[in-house]
Every structure is written in C-alpha cells, then in structure tokens.
Symmetry: C2
C-alpha cells in the first residue's frame, strides 16, 4: 500500500458533509482510525434512521488496525461505532467522558462487553504501531474533547478534532495552543482542521459571554425558568447550576438523555451540582416560582421531548404558565427550524416568554470562526493543509484561509471523502479513490434501503397508492372477482366513490380488450390507463399496483 | 352582524403564520377583502401543492362583497385567488403590475375572462360600499405595492400591506409616510401592520446598499456573472441591468418565470432594459466571459430551475466554469436550505465562486425591522393596534413594540385567524370565532386531502407497504391461491426473500387457526402478526394490507 516511511490518509466521512466524521491513517502495517460519526438524514431520506460511513476499507484492513481514536463524544464523531464495532475488535481511545457516551451507545447494541475502552487524559502519548498520538485539550461544546498530535514516519500531523479558541475561557475549558505549538515546533507536515464555521468571520461567542447573558436573564426573571440545551453540553449545564445557586433556585430535570448525561458527568467529576440546588419534578409544586429552574430536553423540537410535551400541555408534572421564561440555549439545526418555531409559538400562546439565539445571545457555537482558524494555522504552521469537517463550500473557504496564512496554494488541498492522499518524503500523491457512498440505516437494516426503495417511499409519500385486484378463471378467461379498487394515502374514498367507480369501468374495459392469458400485458395496461385517468381527473399520480390472479 | 356605524374585521389568514394573508372587513351591508394569499406546505404535508385560506366566510357573505383589494403581487397575497374567484365575481383592485401577476394566475385556471380587474395608482381613492380606500405607495421587495387607508363608519384604519421604510430609496421606491401621516391626521382608529421582521432590531438593509455591494462584485469580476433572485423582484433586476450597462456586460435570461415577469414589467414601463444590454442564451458562446451576465431562476434550489440545471451540468446552452461568479441575491427560505446549499456545493465543485446572503450583503429583506415598525407606529399614532402577517411570536413582539410607542396595552391586541373583532364608538368587542382551518390543495382536489390521508402518506413514506393476497374457496374453506406477499418502499425484496418467506408461513399459520368465513378476523390477525414480526426482525413497521378474497 505504501512504503514504511510513507503515510496515507483515507477520508471516509466528513470531508464534503457536516457529520459522518471518520478517517483512517495507514503507514506500512499500521492503521489508526480517527472518529466514527453518524449523520442524521435529511427529509428526502424517508424512514432512514441514521446515515453512517461505509466501513469496507477499515474492515478490509482490519488486521492492521491498532486503535480507534475518538476526539470527543458528539454523535457526529462516535455515533456510528455500533456498526463498526460489530465487525471489529480494536480498542477505543478517548477521554473518560467520551468513552462513557460511546459505551452507553455500544451497550444499547449489546456490544459493550466485547469492546476494549482505554481512557486517556490530556498530555497522554500513545504508541499505536507506526503512530505516536498525543492528546491536547480543546474547547468545544462538549467537555473533554481532544485535538491530536500524530507522529508518523512521514512527519507530524495535527488533527484539531472539533474546536474553538476561547481567549478567556471558563476554568478547565481552554484549547491548549502552547502544547500544540510545542508539538508542531520541529515542523508540522500536515494540519487537518475543523471547517464547520469557516464562512463565519471573527471569533465565536465565548461561554463567558453566554454565561453573562444567562446571568442577566436569571437576575431579571421573577417566575420559573425553563432551559433546554444540547444534552451533552455539560459546561452549559454547569453554568445553569451555578446561576441557580447564585439566585436561590433549584434545578429539576426532565428528559432521559439529560438524566443519563448528568449522571455520567457527575460520576466523572465533570459537573458540580451545588448543594441544595437539586429538586425532583414532584417537588416543583411546593416551590415558589422564583425558586424554580427546569432543565429539559427538546432543543430541536423533537416530538416526544420534555419541551414538546410542555408546549403541547402534555407534560405529566408541569404546566407552562404566564410568567415562565423559556430559554432555548442551543442552535436551530436547519432541518428542525419549523418544528422549533412551532414550539416557540405554542409557548407564547401559553403565556411564556421565550428567548432563543436569534433574539438573545444565549448560545455560542462550539466551532472556530475564521479568526480562530487563522490562529490555529499560525500555531501549527503546517507544510500541507487539508480542511476537514465541512461541506465542500466550507472546505474551499477554509483552504483559502490557510493560503492567506502562508500555506502554499498547491499544498492547501481540498479533497473529499474517498480520496486517499499519500505523504512521503515531503511530497504528496493522490491515490485511486475508494468507495465511500453513505450507508443508510433503517431499523435493523444496514445498507438494504437503497435508491429504489427510497424512490418508492417518495412516490408513496407524495401521491399514495391504488391497488386493483381481480381474479380471472384460467379455463374460461372470465372474471370471477373484481375488479376491486382500494387506496392508501390517495384520496378520502367516501368523497371520491364516483372516481373509483369510473376507474373500475376503465379496468373492465381494458380487461375485455386484452386476450386471455396475457396477464403481464393486462397489468401494464391497467397501470398506465389508471395513472393517465387520475392525472387527468385529479392531477395526481399515485402508485398503481394491479393484482391479477389467475385460478 | 353589526350596526351601520360599526366595522368588524375578520382575519382569515396571516395572523399566526407567514403566508396565507387574507382579511375581510364588514360594515353593515358592505364587505371588502384585503389580499388572498397562499402558503407553501411544509415537509409534513406530503404531496400537498399549496395551502389556501378557508373562504367560507367570504362566500357566505358574497352578496355584500364590494371588492377584493390586492396590496401587492407576491404569492402570499394573491396566490389563492384562483380558488376564491371560481366562486366569486367581485372586482379585483390593485396596481397594474399586481393585477398583471394575478391575471396570469387566473388565466392558468381559465378564470381570467370572468374576472374584473380594476387598476389603481397611488393616491387613488375608491368608494366600496361603506368603505373609502386610499392607496399609498410602499417600499417592498416587489414593485408597486400599496398600504391602504380605509375610512370606515367606525373610524380610520391604516393597513400597511407588506412594507419597509427605506430612508434613502432608489427612485420611485419610497414608502409615502407623509401621505399616510396626512390620512391619519384626523385620528386613526386602528393600525394593521406587517410583523414579519418584528424580531429584527434596527433597520433592514436598503436597496442602495445592495446595489453598492452588487456593484463592487460587478467591478471585480473578470469572468461571467450568474445572478439568481426572486423572479418578481423587478427593482433588483433593474439594478442588475444598470450594473451590466455600466460594466459593459450583456444580460441573458434563463427560466420561464423570469421571462414572464420581465415581459410584464417592461410592458408596464417598470423595467428599463438599457439598449445593447440584451442577449439571448444562444449568443453567449460568442461573447467574452467578462461581457456576460446570466439572470436565472432557482434561488430556492428548485429541482428543475435554471440554476439547478447549471449546477448539475444539465443546462442546454450553458456550462458553469472556473472563473464564473454566481450570486444568490435572495433569502434562503428555511425549508429550502438543504436544497440551496447542495447547489452551492456543486457550483463550487464546478469551479465557480458563489456569493450569498450569509457571506455577502447581496440581499435585503422587504419587511420592516423593529425601528421601521416604530416609525410606522409613530406616523399613524393609532388608538388600536393589531399586528398582522406573522407567526404568533412575531405578533407578540410587534404588539410590544406598539406599546413601547404609546399604544395603550389593552388596545394592542394579539388576535389570530378566525377571531373577528368589532370596532364601534371607540370600543372593541371580540366576536365568536369563525372556522379558518387551512385548506390543502393537492392537484385538482381542494380540501379533500385531510388528516387521515396525510397520516397514511406519512406511514407509507416512513416504512413502506406490504400487501398480502390470498383466495379462499367459499365452500371448502381451502386456500386456492396464496398467500402471496408483495411490497412497495419496504425492503429490497431480493435481499429479504427469507423474511418474506417467513412472513408467508406466519400468514398460513394464522389462516389455519381462524375458523372459515371469518375473513375480517383473519385480516386483523394477519395485520397485527405481520407488524409484530417485521418490528421484531427488522425494527420496521410498514403499512400491512391483507386482501382475502372468498370465491
């Protein structure tokens, strides 16, 4: 594959999309994998639960695999592990918190006991075959994320993971630029850096600014405060607990993923719940409104989440009332905007005040903006640069930033998933591409729902379905049953009985004009005639399924 | 309904959603309707083409209807006309441009010749029964929009339509605040004002700023320039033609709606195409790149639009190439973000530079921001205030702005569609609500696709469908055909033949255990057993349709 002094990078996901982050590095007989993320499907992927990378390359080279390194615990970095780990027994490396989240996921798939989890802390150095990996703390919207310093036979690589650079961070949440600088000092061959916010100028808001904005709201609120946030955002939760303590409030939690993550974080000493700030949901009625904080799931408008149940008056213990302040301390993910704004409108109707990113600075992105990306580029001063974690446009913009920071234009590469690159003796070579099409997971099926099935679902979704069923006597060629017509998702049948009766007549007419025994021809004629008929009468084009049974 | 000195306002759409704007005003035996807009469906409305208001109230009071006033020509103000005008013969009033757009729409539905269109110009005063309506020019993202001054027996009403206040407008595009002020001078009873941007602080960008930003891009571009924009935004098109003239470029147009609207605007003298700036698509190959502007449809990523065809290499006359600059001079509507960003990524891959609102100030909203809303409130100084054109949250925010501008809190009402309000002798009364549920249009069907059909489509979309068909001999109770199983959008059948075989065995087993003649019981058992089976084996829950034919 490559000589022992070369290293080849195989991007399997995340270079060309947001999500699905996964990359393999190979040198001689050693392979490491960095991250193993999923992507949530867009609306065109009817019924698909999650999208995962194609793992063929990793599995074909399983014998070389020394370990899987997880930079942090977000779904787009660990979410596809259950589908890789069912065919793979390499150890997982990451922070305790990351591994706890990964472990929970593997447990749900009954894979945890078969997986070796090796926790690392900042500053640790691991030797994995031909690779030596150093872990650097980074600031991100989840605690205990790492950037990686990777010593390879071809030179030093820095992989930022997901990061931002908070210039004035709250305790224990800094990106360790000096350590990264020291690692890169002998000369960094390559920087792989997070491109998510490459289009945003300046610096991301800092958690200190968010905490101050939240603090103002806590200081002013006279009623209950309801907060929703990403359930892995432990640092933000800490701010909420601290503000609750400062303003004499108690925090009650509603929503399973919050419960689980809070428990994990507390057990690892990552979340300090100040004494006297805890309350159960059942205690709430006994507390005055100005002593209540309710921390809830549902920042993306998920239908069964705690916030959704509150907004629709279906929460078992709590009713939203006039005087409540609801904070959405989270980003609106584009596909979820309509669901979220529906919730906001409903909360207003119930009398609550609702605050969200658009109207108040109560959320900060966890990803570096352009100026922070520049800082990282200047810290590492790499010879080569490959932007990761982004759509194509983000990668392009990030490579331009790299060039503006002194990377030679021919060394700032924009490559996509499936395009391997070999580094050797200070030179690079693009290898033949490898297959990396997205794999769709639907229930227990992995990769079995492809273009054909999705196309059928799309047609069914748009126009519904009409079934025509008839039984023909084989000997006489006479109709012994039907034609009967039934539909699903097509029209409200009671209102359209005349249309369906006309359709029957059309079918009968065709039947009389097709010679007996030619049932394929009969079905084809029925299908095309009914589609034509429904298009003309209703301007609709349902899926037509003719069932002709010959007995 | 009300006494002759009272007026009742019936909001039929747009108070509680963006789109669907429609309102009736009734006084004694006179009714006028203001706007008749549609709304585009969100993703949960499978197969629905458009959403329109329920017109029952208007049709029940058809005899009182003196006219339908169109404030401007956007779809959310005129788009539902074809469904109202098929049952209604009242005249339409609006600017020539608005009526031209409305007429095109009515023509497509073969209704144009039955509709009286009465053009008005700024300053015109119409007497419509008990109402006197004055038309004031407003600045908006379409030319020739109006605010309305309505004299009623209960007092003066100002309805802003959609508007912004450009403090330094390009020629002929100002909001006529002095005229509105003069109208309100004797005392305005009520202001109805556009709430779309009530959450945005400050002032909207002005067209002068947009034109300057576009001018910089035109000055710098050395290759071809491709521009997409809303196809009714004649003013923006004028800027493009002017800049083309100034920089020695010719403009070619691709896309039907642009062609039509440009023709309408030119015929009405609303768009000046400078001599020598026109080119046909076929002339483009003969022009040097730096002399080309291509104006195209597709700002929302619509699949068959000119921009889509360019991005996917399917445009007949033009190929995107390195050096091209593509400008999306338009807003990203939330439901379309993924489609638009896909196009942007593809255009980058083809080598183009792509500029859009997020990264460059090349689009301005047509709706007033908070400071502009204040200016309108201060200009009219109304006794009562009702925010219109917005989701509930926008209405709430706008009513707060009104209170901050001096409207008494109890007179700043937030009401929703279907809540009539009567004004009489300086007092108000909320009337009983009227039905205003949204009407779904699917092909030629209006209102026939309801919750049941949509639910079926949703189920079909998510998990597909399984049909079980069998024929039973009535006399012997024996199976004479089947069970056969076929599916649509469920699984790729070749890969799952074993699952479908197992499903057949389950059906046979049930058949043997249900007494002959009980075909409903048989069907129910089949349905529930198969759903259980598929959930267990595949974690999928398709729609199961058992067809049991007894012969």
């Amino acid at each position: 594959m490559n000589s022992s002094s070369a290293v080849t990078l195989y991007p399997l996901g995340g270079l060309g999309e947001i999500g699905l982050n996964c990359m393999a590095l190979v040198s001689g007989d050693s392979m490491i994998v960095i991250d193993c993320g999923l992507m949530f499907p867009d609306d065109s992927l009817f019924g698909i639960d999650v999208v995962i990378p194609r793992f063929d390359f990793i599995l074909q080279n399983r014998d070389k695999l020394k370990g899987i390194i997880l930079t942090h615990g977000h779904e787009d970095h660990i979410g596809a592990l259950p589908w890789l780990m069912r065919s793979c027994d390499a150890p997982l490396y990451g922070s305790k918190f990351t591994l706890a989240l990964a472990g929970k996921k593997l447990e749900e798939h009954n894979l945890k006991e078969f997986t070796r989890c090796e926790p690392v802390v900042a500053g640790d150095v691991l030797t994995l075959g031909a690779f030596r990996v150093t872990f650097f703390p980074v600031c991100h919207s989840i605690v205990h994320g790492f950037a990686l310093g990777i010593e390879t036979p071809a030179g030093r690589i820095v992989h930022t993971g997901d990061f931002k650079i908070d210039r004035n961070p709250l305790d224990g949440h800094a990106t360790d630029l000096p350590a990264i600088k020291a690692f890169a000092a002998p000369g960094a061959m390559l920087l792989l850096s997070d491109s998510t916010n490459a289009e945003r100028e300046g610096f991301a808001l800092t958690e200190r600014e968010i905490k101050a904005a939240l603090g103002d709201i806590f200081a002013d609120a006279t009623g209950r405060i309801v907060v929703t946030l990403f359930s892995s955002h432990i640092q933000r939760m800490q701010e909420i607990f601290d503000l609750a303590e400062a303003t004499g409030r108690k925090v009650a939690v509603s929503g399973k993923s919050l419960f689980t993550n809070i428990e994990i974080a507390r057990n690892l000493g990552l979340l300090r719940v100040p004494p006297g700030t805890e309350a159960s949901l059942d205690e709430l009625p006994g507390l005055p409104d100005h002593q209540v904080v309710l921390l809830v799931t549902g920042s993306q408008g998920e239908p069964l989440s705690a916030l959704s149940r509150l907004a629709y008056g279906e929460h078992r213990q709590v009713r939203i009332q006039k005087g409540d302040t609801v904070l959405l301390s989270s980003r609106f993910i584009p596909g979820n905007i309509r669901a979220i704004t529906k919730l906001i409108n409903r909360l207003y109707k119930l009398g609550a005040e609702v605050l969200y990113e658009r109207v108040q600075a109560i959320h900060a992105s966890g990803h570096a903006h352009a100026e922070e990306l520049r800082l990282m580029l200047k810290t590492v001063a790499p010879k080569f640069f490959i932007p990761v974690h982004g759509e194509y446009r983000h990668l392009v913009k990030h490579s331009r930033i790299a060039v503006s920071c002194g990377v030679a234009p021919e060394r700032a590469l924009v490559i996509e998933d499936g395009q391997p690159v070999t580094f050797s003796g200070g030179l690079i070579r693009l290898e033949d591409t490898i297959p990396v099409e997205h794999i769709y997971v639907d229930g227990k099926g992995v990769g079995d729902v492809g273009v054909t099935v999705l196309k059928e679902r799309q047609l069914l979704a748009g126009e519904g379905l009409v079934i025509v069923v008839m039984v023909v006597d084989e000997k006489s060629g006479e109709l012994t049953f039907g034609p009967n017509i039934l539909s699903k998702g097509f029209v409200f049948e009671q209102h359209y009985s005349h249309v369906l009766e006309d359709a029957k007549c059309i079918v009968l007419d065709i039947f009389e004009n097709v010679p007996p025994g030619q049932s394929d021809l009969l079905k084809e004629r029925i299908r095309s005639a009914l589609r034509r008929f429904f298009r003309k009468i209703l301007e609709r084009d349902p899926v037509v399924v003719p069932l002709v049974i010959t007995l």
